[in-house]
Symmetry: C2
Subunit: 424 residues, 2 copies
Amino acid sequence: MSPDAQTPPTPQPPPTPTVWRRGASFQEMWRDLLPVGRSPGGGYRRHAWTSADAECRAWFREQAEARGLTYEVDRNGNQWAWLGDEEAGDAVVTGSHLDSVPDGGAFDGPLGVVSAFAALDELHERGTRPVRPLAVVNFCDEEGARFGPACVGSRLATGALTAEQARALRDADGVTLPEAMERAGHDPDAIGADPRRLARVGAFVELHVEQGRFLAEAPGDHPVGVASAIWPHGRWRFDFHGEANHAGTTRLEDRRDPMLTYANTVLAARKKARLAGALATFGKVAVEPNGVNAIASLVRGWLDSRAPDEETLAAVVAEVERAAVERGARDGVRVTVVRESFAPVVEFDHALRDRLAARLGGAPVLPTGAGHDAGVLSAVVPTAMLHVRNPTGVSHSPAETATEDDCAAGVRALVAVLEDLACR
Amino acid sequence: MSPDAQTPPTPQPPPTPTVWRRGASFQEMWRDLLPVGRSPGGGYRRHAWTSADAECRAWFREQAEARGLTYEVDRNGNQWAWLGDEEAGDAVVTGSHLDSVPDGGAFDGPLGVVSAFAALDELHERGTRPVRPLAVVNFCDEEGARFGPACVGSRLATGALTAEQARALRDADGVTLPEAMERAGHDPDAIGADPRRLARVGAFVELHVEQGRFLAEAPGDHPVGVASAIWPHGRWRFDFHGEANHAGTTRLEDRRDPMLTYANTVLAARKKARLAGALATFGKVAVEPNGVNAIASLVRGWLDSRAPDEETLAAVVAEVERAAVERGARDGVRVTVVRESFAPVVEFDHALRDRLAARLGGAPVLPTGAGHDAGVLSAVVPTAMLHVRNPTGVSHSPAETATEDDCAAGVRALVAVLEDLACR
């Protein structure tokens, strides 16, 4: 056939690498990761491009190489471990992230990466031969704990975050993202959209510990569920501008105390969210001058809000803002609101979602309020998520958990999905 | 007379030093101090034993030496400038402090020190010869901005703060007070109660910018007032213990969000204080983990409260605590309260107060909600305070101010008081 022929070449299954072998067991991998970046209080601080992150990344590379997989780091720092020809296209990719929120738990992220390697081992054990390339991925800086925006690795790859925007990010110490990457040994010059690499991916499946109690409370016994959608969500910074003054000498009626307006807004946000069936949280605050005997001049509070649909979300945020401005007028406090980030609703690929749910014998389908790399990738790749039951429902805390049995069920579900998608 | 004689020696007026001379004018002194420790935002950060503080202290020493006064630093780091025999006893001392709160104003503290030197110059100009020793003092670490407790220099001297307690103090970077003193060139080994030095003081008069609008709003035109009392006041740390969780996935009804309890307590404190004619302020907050998408596990808020009498103060704080605990029960949040400091009511020496008010032609007598070195010293020395009118009423902020005319009136008042007490 001449190179000019219009007929596309018949797809060939990639050669299974002769060196493909089993790696460490789920339990061994879990044990290896467990101490990395754990603070004395038990929470994890695996923030992007720190030494704890570097240890996680070194671990990923070891897992890839121990299994004879082809290891690569893409231009944005995401790590890939390929079984089969990574250039062949139509690959089935699974994985998650290894970084954490401040004082996060052990499961959010790592469960998806460890389960992915364990699922590959199980396929190997069964003698299953993939007919599509398979890869395990670790997306970097999913939590945004250090530089602010979440899903930096995946959003850079899809172009949802531009290289220019990423270069302007700074951590609390003023270190820029490029500086942090460089110090960690990653060349920051090449960051940016990576359409060629994403075009190789035919399907992405992220396994994640559930961040609520949907599965724990669902009738029947369901260790694993399939995600339907990610709620639209965003972050708004509320600045309450008052006047610094002496807490011991300023009459109440002479005050312009922004702490009062902030406090009222916190309570208003909860109420508005409850009435709308949405979520609203103030979890981060910064106060100036933050002195015990000083009335604050500025209170800055960040609202995280999410809702089943974008209209509801917009309405809740508008009502919280209105309540803040109204109370501010009484307190002599000026309120300004800036939307720092927004993610529209993500509907996962329906065909893929239904195929997974069917393959898993009618697993429950559940929505999620949390953003994920899977949500980012769904804009350009058919994407699905598996959730593993979390009995506490707690997340972003050392209290998040999943039983050993449920983790094993998660791996079995991922094996079934990979067999279905890549091996037949 | 033999050294063993029981009859005390007849007090002799101290010799006026032949070298006593005028120093820089009020305006020149003010201009010299103005840039020291000023942040780009215009607020002052002259925290104890920092380089900005060292500059202030060097300035004090220069002023003392330029006037031919005897300069000394006491064991606790307080600076003294003596006119006459510092050992003679029954001295009249005036002064204040040079350190600041975070982003404080230019007047709180320095006005009293600069006015003291200017008043001495005016006495010199008039050819007035003091018959009692006179001193200007700069008490160190009045604001407690770095190590927490206020009035460290004066409280160490009176024994209200023990050396052991002071040695345990640490700043936000973990530097202990002794380490900070040592780095600034002051030997910390000798800190502690200094009764011999305080026994030399027959009266202490502190001039201070008013930290409210009593004088500005008083009928008539009163640039200067005399303090009657310092309200009892204290600091209470409220810890709200909830549960960290994911802001995007945790149902409202599953949350134990301490930010809600904190917010409700802020509003309750304001209300309880208003009803009782007291003051209550939450101006400092610390949140863990303080992430935008994390429900807080811990919110720590500091309550500053003051009232005309101790019973009212205790009742207000008890009511705020009760409101916090009640709301905490609804939110699933445990509340603990620790009293971090407490200062009982200070009634300034009535004879001295009345003498000053009369000498100043019936100056208004006003209470203050703020603690001062004068309040600390009043436990062991007859003590009085002069307040200079502050048209904004603002304090602990760059917006605190006094007009040039009112500052001059303050110096004249201090001259009149020193003449009255020390020169006749």
